[in-house]
Amino acid sequence: MKTLQCDVAVVGGGPAGTFAAVKAAENGARVILLDKGYVGKSGCGTFGAGSFKAWLREEDSLDLWYGKAVEEGFFINDQDWLKKHFDTIGDRVKELEAWGVTFEKNEDGTYRRIEGQGSSDKRPIKTLMFHGPQFMEVMRRVCREKGVTIVDRVMVDALLHDRDNPRAIRGVVGFHGVSGEMHVVRARAVVLTAGAQAYKSHYADLHMETGDAHIMGLEAGAALANYEFNCHQLTHGNFATHGMNVSQGLGAKFVNALGEDFTAKYDPEYASHGNLWRISASMAMEVKFGRGPLYFDYSSYTPQDWELFERTLPLMYRSYEQAGYVDGNRRVIQGKLSWVSALIGNVGFGGGLFIDLDGRTTLEGLYAAGDASYGPTSGVEGFCAYAMPAASTTGAAVGEASAKYAATVGSFEIDEAEVESLTRKLTAPLRNPQGVDPSHVVIAVQEALFPYDVYILRTEEKMLAALKRIREIKRHDVPRLRALDAHGLRFALEARNMVLSAEVMLAAALHRKESRGSHLRLDYPEIDNENWLKWILVELRDDEPVLSTRDIPIERYPLRPEHKRELHASIAAARRLGEEI
């Protein structure tokens, strides 16, 4: 066993974790940053598609950005956090550039910005563009330069309490994914930045995100919030794709089984450029009304279009060529490609650890930021303040706050008996070589969660059935999960965390008896601002999730909803089309 000591232990080295580590170090803390992959080559941040939606004081209207963030956040943002985000994002951009992160520039030195998903002619939201993995390469280097100790390939999956204060966290337990060596880190403060729960979904580059921070926080006594809200992605039915914006730019369209372009029917302002969950909802409606399956239609592509496509998205082009959709002369062979929605959990916004304005969770000494947090800036997909920019501002803030807090903590003791019991718990699958294959558990969770009537067009009946199945998996399969080696142990624990997240997600979604943004319930089709301007908090008691609500202090906030109740826009649109729903 390896025992390490520091002031601030940061778990997970994406944009949030590297920012937290750097800021904690700048504030005088000795920092250890642990990652189950290799910092700078793991996590969603490494695969970011290049869009950085940062509000720039010099160029953008605050009213427009703030307004959109709250409108698309469906009023469940923490508007104090949102203000803090807008107050600090400009500094983060300047810092990133000073460290060497490249943002696209025009010849005159101004930022080159484009309109992406969620921008409309009426209300344009322009995004900065970064160069994919270069962002995280820089962040790794900066961590090193600031004296952060990086520990790669250590999966952390449990938190240690202060021996004399059961509501304070003083360290973490993990293991090396290759050697299997246990790692115990004693720390005055712990920052959880291990990203989202993405349910190993049918989408690109997010299989590392298995809610580890959420579940270890929950099990240590912290509260989760917003777990009923999920991000949806759109992708090819057979393999994970990206580059939808580019594809659409060249003329690809969403069509239903009848060949009709359907997105504008449900969302006149944004059509196929709306928030992802909106398009996902439109797709699910078409399937429900018998007009599925659905396609992304490349039939109009000329050889010149494919050539441009190949230049911008070489890997995607190769996949299409390998699948036989386009021939060697860049002619369309099969233009209509099966397209689906994919539940990707709380990547970019949605459920995670509840935090205050310092980034502190409901436990002393435990902080969270980025996708590990409940997304206070963005609420439901408030895309003007979410994903990588929000990971940067929340990460920097918790780095500073955790270092300042750590400086106030004197000598402390951890409980050796807790270290031993957590070590035994973490390594249990290794003592179970004949046990349940983690792949089975992953597939079983996905079978329960991924049907569209469980996560897109929700009803109590379907969610209860899914929850029953998840609880069966929790009872029978989770205790018998198997691992043959340290690699397998990681995947067994990830599968376990997926089950527990799934339970929390369904319990929270059943509890919220209204519709709001991506949480769309056919049995409660109205947005109910009278009763549901609340965060649902989830804590654990005797291994079971216990739910409570906390009022959003909307009266204090600059922006408040206009109506007490209103029909969810996707349902209203379907009814206007004459559908019975």
Partner: protein
Amino acid sequence: MGIRHIDYDKCTRCGRCVTYCPQDVLRPDGERRPVITYLQDCQSCFLCEKYCPAGAIAVSADRERRPILPWKI
């Protein structure tokens, strides 16, 4: 089907793919050659292919396992 080919004639045994793979799919053998050890966990993210200085790796976008989809296609 994830990572599908490592061309050992081209591979210089630099170890980069092993270090970088976020899913710990690859492990070095006794001669420091990367081995596809845990294919089922490959997420087809193309990192290994992209960062291999020798151009020795080929990844396919298809994964090993059939995806679970929200509706029938």
